[in-house]
Symmetry: C5
Subunit: 354 residues, 5 copies
């Protein structure tokens, strides 16, 4: 459950704009990495204090500041001062229970979204909050823990592959978003495989444990949906933004990104349909099995109860029971019993129970 | 149920604008508190009659009049006269079954919303109506009972913490709304914990009592939803308002508030999905248990009914039953019975019932 | 069912605008009441023929013509001629299966809505059609039968209470609509009490008859919903109307009315949720009870069938059954049976069936 | 099923605009009727070839050409040439699996809708396609088979009843549409009666056959819905059309027609709700009956199985069974059995099973 | 499942615009066919390298380049260079898990949609991606495998049938889209027949295997829906496009195409309703059958268990059992048993179980 409401609550009662990290401390020490580049040069640096970023702010080159770990509130506050970020934005950066959103503050654009990962041990999807601030010549990204999703982008920057070095901070931001959304497909694939596997199991051996797995899948789908749905609007706002910060050349890429988010949402909806279909099938197959159990009981009981009754009759100790004296009494009773047995079997066969 | 329709009905037949408090009297005496402040000074006062408020109305400072307890209709009427409030607004203030809403009356804005609290004894969410009137230099807030949700705001005002003393009545109103919405997260957390606990119970020990707890959770979710959904529009109207009463600098805070209400609604919807999922799981697990009960019965009956039949056969008292005379008759019968028993057990094992 | 489609069908094949009353005759004689008033004077009159209304039409005072009983088609036609009402409007007045609607015809506005009442005997909600025509200085209201919902308004007019005498026909029309919508809350309360009662019964004693009561509640909710939903748009159209017939000062009252209709709709939706939740609970509790029945059967059968088998064994009449000769045979068998019995009881206790 | 996809498929692979009648031939020979009228005169004629229509086209009078039977493709093509109709329109006229729609082609408006009829034998709703082309001084209507729904309009034309002779082709088209929509109410009534009847049966005697009747009703509702839903938009487009072909005076009638279609849709939705409610009730009552069956079995078995066990005990043949020798043994056993019997009966009574 | 997420995932981590074919290689060698035509001439050619297309690009005639097989990335890249196509478009062409979409790039319009086919062996719908690029004087279409859906268009081009040779590349594109959408109706018919067949089976013989067939139908419907829903918007965008590439004369055809897609979507929705109705019926009929099984068991057990008990009584070996000595004891017991039997049968008949 805590996944569903990451301690947004702690904030209750504080003044708006008060900075407070709302999750457990996940890293020893926050890590700030700076990549500063233009078409010709690229400079990479790990800094200790935010003040070291200041020279990059003035230069016309694109500066990407990546912050891993959000528990050092002083540092976040410093960033706010240096880059003139509104305190509500900083609050949202730290409050990791945010809903994905995109806000235009005039001199910068603020984007929050979720980085998903699949925790194999717990079979659970985990969501980390990633916040991105797009300024005129810088991009600041905040992550809760150090991740490797942005590594390919770093590689492309270093190798000057593709158009990334030739374009501005808006394209860089797009590349970061694209990396995150692309990563969703990995999660979808994991979930998709699980569902596919479950559907097969459902047909061949619908055991009882399946119920909890279906429930689990349902919860994961609800969770996924919650993280992914607002994305559609986020990217849409970004694409239709009339801000100067988003250049027209980047628009086409954002449209492509938008298509991908729609595709993700589409798949999540399909998952929902499939999982809820699975529950129906499971319920039906329980009923079917119950039916079969009942049939076995009914057949056996219906055949043998009357026979046992007959045996009971001739087990009575009345003095005057003429049948008992007949020499053919015993075989006769056997005959009657056999007749009943056979006619019962015929009856059940006719009813398609055998 | 009365929670769902707080006596809106009593009004039926009266002229529109007739003042009538529609809930039981909840406080001994209504309590009026005034906080009057600007950036430099702050004055706090508990008044007896509304006339004492009048001097504050004329002054350019921001005046916050908080009224706890709504049963003194004369007083409410007085406020209406002094601050030129429409009688329909006063009616809505008193009629505590209102739906959250926001209306712009030109010289003031009227906001109704629900303050939620969790009553531990009844395991129920309670909703109090809070009405806020935002004027050019005053804010009037009405509460049914004295609450402590606004205390942190009073503290901030007194301590002159944050920007609150520097800003106008619109920011004060925002702060009040923010305090109420922040408070929702506490309720969400309570409900979330309950749901989490229920889900665990559902897996480990799905007893019969669970059904009513699920039903109860469902009702609470419906109730929560009813209180929370209209909020979205309320805050949206406030944010997009073109009234002079809402300054542009407050807009950004209202947007933040809007994000929070969306988050609350999102969580309530997730609760709905989770609770309805729980019912499905519960129903399936009942079916499963029934299946297991049936299997035990079927196994025992199917094994022993035929055996008892055989025993019945040789309990018959026919004179001429050759088997009875055989020296090996008795062990033979045991042998046959054992054979039937073993083959039955194999059959059930093959069918995965054992 | 006829409630759901009040003989709209009879019309089929007639020219549009043909007048035809589509319900059974409900009153002996139609009754026309006229109240003519301005701020100073008020004149009240029961008339026989419509021609008597004519003088009031010319005067600048507000004239309220109330018609109870719709079966005298000539009279309705006459009204049409005198007040220049379109024949399609008259057709709608008579055709009592109309959906609530609001249409602006330039020189008058036509409003149709439903007056609801709760028939205690049949436990059913009844809907009467009320049509209101708002002209420049008159209001004509049509009711199927004489009702008492408008009585408080008459009282207010006579007593000159509130603002009603000072305002125009638009306010009068608003007052009529308000009276009708206020009346809905009485119905809601009735239904709400029933649902509340049913929920309690559901917990304490979910007997079989409940099923039909739930079904009945569901149908009433569907019916209520059908009557109430279109109201939202009706009042909205009226509020946003740019017609000269609706003065700006009435706008604020219509907005209040709009809030009330939203509240009614909200409650109906909540009812739907609650009733459908009740069905789920009922179904689950049937399953639960079945489970309990099965458990009793299974426990008894599973314990005694094997014991009976053992008794059957030693009831066989084989000549050579050494156990029968043992002096301790009988107590031994009792011992074995007791052992089986106790271990069974333990088994069921472990399985939580006892 | 073919009802649901009236052979739209045959078209696959042909060039757009290729004329092909997609239904079985339903009439011996197509029949073309012409009614040409203005306020003074009316001329009626059954023609063999389309060329006979030509003189009417030029005249300023309103010409209504009604074509019954669509299998003579040459004739349809001829109409297209004479009245300058787009080949895609002709294709749609012939392809009777069209969805109701309304298209403005500048010099004419093309309307497709469904004429419904209830086939008593199969208890099925049948849908015939009716296409209407509204030109500046003519209306062409196409029907698959000769129907009688338009007869009242012919009567009104001949008798010059109402305003129909005074108005243009747009009013004629409206009259045709109105006749068709009015006809829907007959179908609704049929279905409504069936549902009402079923609800009663459901309460009194929920036999097994009901299931298929409910399913059948559901299918009919789905079918009705499919035919009726698009109508809303069709009439709306027509009403809001800015084409010169629709005069303003007809607008008010189209609005009335629009209200009727909304009413039809409303009823279909109510049917859906009612039918799905019936299924729920049916399922619950099956469960209830099963419960009752189980109770009878459980009561009988639970009472007699232990008693039979006791009888079995004293049917054993052990040599040393002291009870057997007791003079009061037999009555004592009877006593014990009676005690068990009575306590069982009490137990079941307490559990409310008896 | 792979059908639902055709390996969109592989892309993850690559730079946007990197070309990569995301499906298995399905053809030996890509095949490029060129048809170049104007009203007078038509030239057809199979080319090896894309350079051969170049002369056609310059000519004013319409050029249709059809590419079957997407695994030769070099070739696709070449096309991009020659016709100045954006790398993101080429990426989408190759990434066959795209959602149907339509994008206007100024000098060309890019359309992606799904070609459906029914694989008889697996009873599955297959979807191939078809991409169409509409330029000022050319149309490029990409297919994953060689298909025959476009053959009728080729025929019409060669035979100069219809208007196709007289119109531009936009009409050609329309013709291609129309061919694909027409093809959907074949799939619908297949599915429709299956559903119809299943409904019949459901009534006559609802065996257990049906469950998986229903589930299968449901999945196919979900899949179909996913492929077809976005089409609506695609065609709508195309129709409302203000691009110079879509001439006004083609608009009317696109509107017709739009109607067809709505019809397809309508049918898919109807399928959904029908299939989900089938599941309800199936579940009900399982319950019904269970009920019948239970009845048989209950009747037999309820009749014979008490009789067996009586027999058991007189099988006891008490010394003093006066009944055993009676000469009429045995026939009397038979009489009692018969009486019980008959009264039981009456009881069950009264309960309608026999």
């Amino acid at each position: 459950m805590p996944r569903f409401f990451k301690k947004v609550m702690k904030k209750s009662g504080l003044a708006p704009g008060t900075l407070l990290y709302t999750n457990e401390k996940r890293m020893e020490k926050a890590k700030i990495t700076i990549i500063d580049y233009d078409e010709k040069d690229l400079q990479e640096k790990v800094v200790k204090t935010m003040e070291e970023c200041l020279p990059f702010k003035a230069s016309p080159t694109v500066t990407w500041i990546n912050v891993d770990g959000l528990h050092e509130i002083d540092m976040i506050e410093k960033i706010g001062q240096l880059f003139d970020i509104h305190s509500l934005v900083l609050e949202d950066v730290l409050n990791t229970g945010q809903r994905p959103k995109c806000e235009d503050f005039g001199n910068y654009i603020f984007v929050v979204l979720k980085m998903l990962s699949y925790e194999e041990k717990k079979h659970e999807i985990r969501a980390e909050q990633v916040s991105i601030i797009i300024g005129p010549n810088f991009v600041i990204s905040f992550q809760e823990i150090e991740g490797d999703v942005f590594d390919p982008i770093r590689e492309r920057l270093r190798a000057s592959k593709g158009r990334i070095r030739k374009m501005g901070p808006d394209y860089l931001a797009y590349a970061l978003l694209d990396a995150i959304v692309d990563n969703y497909f990995t999660i979808l694939e994991k979930l998709g495989e699980k569902i596919e596997y479950m559907e097969e199991v459902l047909v061949t051996n619908p055991a009882q444990e399946i119920l909890h797995t279906i429930h689990h899948l349902k919860r994961e789908t609800i969770f996924l949906r919650k993280s992914v749905w607002p994305l559609r609007e986020v990217v849409n706002i970004l694409e239709r933004s009339e801000s100067d910060l988003i250049k027209e050349t980047t628009g086409i890429f954002l449209r492509d990104l938008y298509d991908h988010t729609i595709q993700v949402i589409d798949s999540v909806e399909t998952f929902r349909d499939l999982v809820s279909g699975m529950l129906d099938i499971y319920l039906s197959s329980i009923s079917n099995r119950m039916n079969n159990v009942m049939k076995v009981l009914t057949i056996i009981a219906t055949i043998f109860i009357p026979l046992t009754f007959i045996a009971g009759i001739y087990g009575m100790n009345f003095k005057f029971m003429p049948e008992l004296e007949w020499p053919w009494g015993y075989p006769l009773v056997w005959g009657v019993m056999l007749a009943i047995f056979i006619s019962m079997v015929f009856y059940f066969r006719k009813k398609d129970w055998l």
